[in-house]
């Protein structure tokens, strides 16, 4: 019985973590400019993420070390610096955008300019990390993140054309604005497949004391959680496709996006949008800041855990404190959140090889995983994802220049 409660919680966590400022912004832009067409990119991104999460979860449960631990142990300190720096820089950009998302949500609700909300958001977030344990952080934000279901409700009320949507789940080529299409495809992939997600998941498996007995829970959590999350992201794309595309509205400012729910769901829609933006971005802020702190602490061998009082893991606690406060500054000085989000999504996509390729090595290490090493289907999937990550790295800068509106 307890196992199934854990599974349910795990699924919920995945939903909560899936929709956040990156997915909301990129899906809205994608839907507004290309209708349903980019839905297949979300399918690709969700599937890839599910696979990567299941693997890093399995790695932690069987070897009792997180992916970050193993990046240091199995590849050495010199190599470790590569994913450390890449993930640090890219994740910092993303968390700055997430704080931007929370700030915009508070601005939408109160009318007070988003700049004023950045530092208070960081302080409240810090307080939750300082005083809360892992369970509270993980499950609290996940439960509240269920408001994101409002996107699914909104999409249904707009009466999507199911056959057309179905066809859009398969890859297609754009009929216009090719550079912009592929640029948005890359950003959507960056929003879906974020290294902080599977790094956090791996560390979380250790926080939750997973063992070999949790491998089934791991599969269901990674699989179903991401399916639900992916459905919500597609729903977000569909709402923009049905509300913005026919009217020729392009998303240039976050404020416009609230209309995708205010149209089908009226006043409740606006409220749900604000709540979804607030909760999902806030949860992601905590998750990303912890992910970076875990990476640093585990890679350097420091004591770490959200379940320990900060005095017992001072370097770890100081790290997330400094990170969250630092991340609030760009928004506090007024940098445009949507521009930051777009840049951070493409940067994320470009950074994938340094965390995907080492994983393919580890998942075949018999010393670490015994009988739980990858079978050939998993390896095939991983190779495809690794190739995809290299394509994204190569295409990122040209597309940002050619298609970054």
């Amino acid at each position: 019985m307890k196992k199934w409660a854990e599974v349910a919680l795990g699924v919920v966590t995945s939903i909560g973590g899936f929709l956040e400022v990156g997915s909301i912004a990129t899906s809205a832009q994608g839907g507004a400019e290309f209708g349903y067409q980019l839905a297949w990119v979300l399918v690709l991104g969700t599937t890839s993420l599910a696979i990567l999460m299941e693997m890093t979860g399995r790695l932690a449960a069987v070897s009792q070390r997180s992916y970050a631990d193993l990046l240091r142990e199995r590849f050495g300190y010199r190599f470790f610096l590569l994913p450390l720096v890449a993930v640090f820089v890219v994740s910092l950009l993303v968390v700055i955008s997430e704080i931007g998302g929370v700030s915009i949500a508070l601005q939408l609700a109160t009318g007070i300019d988003f700049r004023w909300w950045a530092i208070p958001t960081a302080l409240v977030g810090w307080f939750l990390l300082w005083r809360g344990n892992f369970t509270i952080v993980e499950q609290g934000t996940a439960m509240l993140g269920l408001v994101a279901i409002s996107f699914a409700v909104g999409a249904l009320k707009l009466h999507p054309v199911w056959p057309t949507l179905g066809r859009a789940l398969l890859p297609s080529l754009p009929s216009h604005d090719r550079a912009r299409y592929w640029y948005l495809a890359v950003s959507i992939l960056g929003a879906s497949i974020s290294p902080y997600l599977y790094l956090f998941y791996s560390a979380g498996a250790l926080e939750d004391e997973w063992t070999i007995e949790h491998l089934g829970v791991n599969r269901v959590t990674a699989g179903m959680g991401n399916v639900f999350g992916g459905v919500l992201a597609i729903a977000s794309l569909v709402t923009a496709a049905l509300v913005f595309a026919p009217r020729g509205i392009k998303v240039d400012r976050y404020e416009q996006i609230a209309l995708v729910l205010a149209t089908p769901l009226g006043r409740a829609g606006l409220v749900f949008f604000i709540m979804t933006l607030f909760v999902t971005c806030f949860g992601s802020t905590l998750e990303i800041v912890l992910a970076i702190a875990y990476l640093l602490a585990q890679g350097l061998g420091w004591n770490w855990s959200e379940n320990l009082k900060p005095g017992k893991d001072a370097r770890f606690a100081t790290s997330y404190t400094v990170l969250i406060l630092l991340a609030s500054l760009p928004i506090a000085i007024g940098m445009d959140p949507l521009t930051l989000t777009n840049i951070s999504m493409v940067a994320t996509a470009a950074s994938l090889p340094v965390t995907v390729i080492p994983l393919s090595v580890l998942m075949n290490d018999g010393d670490l995983l015994n009988t739980h090493v990858n079978g050939w289907p998993s390896n095939l999937a991983l190779v495809v994802i690794a190739l995809l990550s290299v394509v994204l790295l190569v295409a990122a800068i040209p597309l940002q220049l050619l298609g970054g509106g």
Binding site: Q64, K309, G311
Partner: protein
Amino acid sequence: MGAVHLSHDVIDSQLVDRHQEKIGRIDELLLELEEGKPPRVATIVIGGVARARRVGRWMLACHRAVHALLGHREEYESRIPFEAVRRIADTIELDVEGDTLPSMRLDRWLATHIVCRIPGGSGERK
């Protein structure tokens, strides 16, 4: 017991002290070379200098510059005799007192001067 591979199983492994607390990773191993005796693995080194040196001379220079800027005179590096190793497994257990290690200095400083000054900082578990 089978062979223990230095590169694979020892270097970069997680170290824990006699209280099972994490105290860092093996950043470097020093061999002792004495006339007439076979070389042996003598010392475990934990510290930023050792890490920097592994990356390259330029990294070492940056590391030294930062420490000079902060006014540190000594290297905060722990050198632990290899004899202190009690167990080599997923982690390597050392018979030392983590709190006394020089490489833990930053952790101690942060804990006493900052973390424990903020409410909710002290104690064991949340």
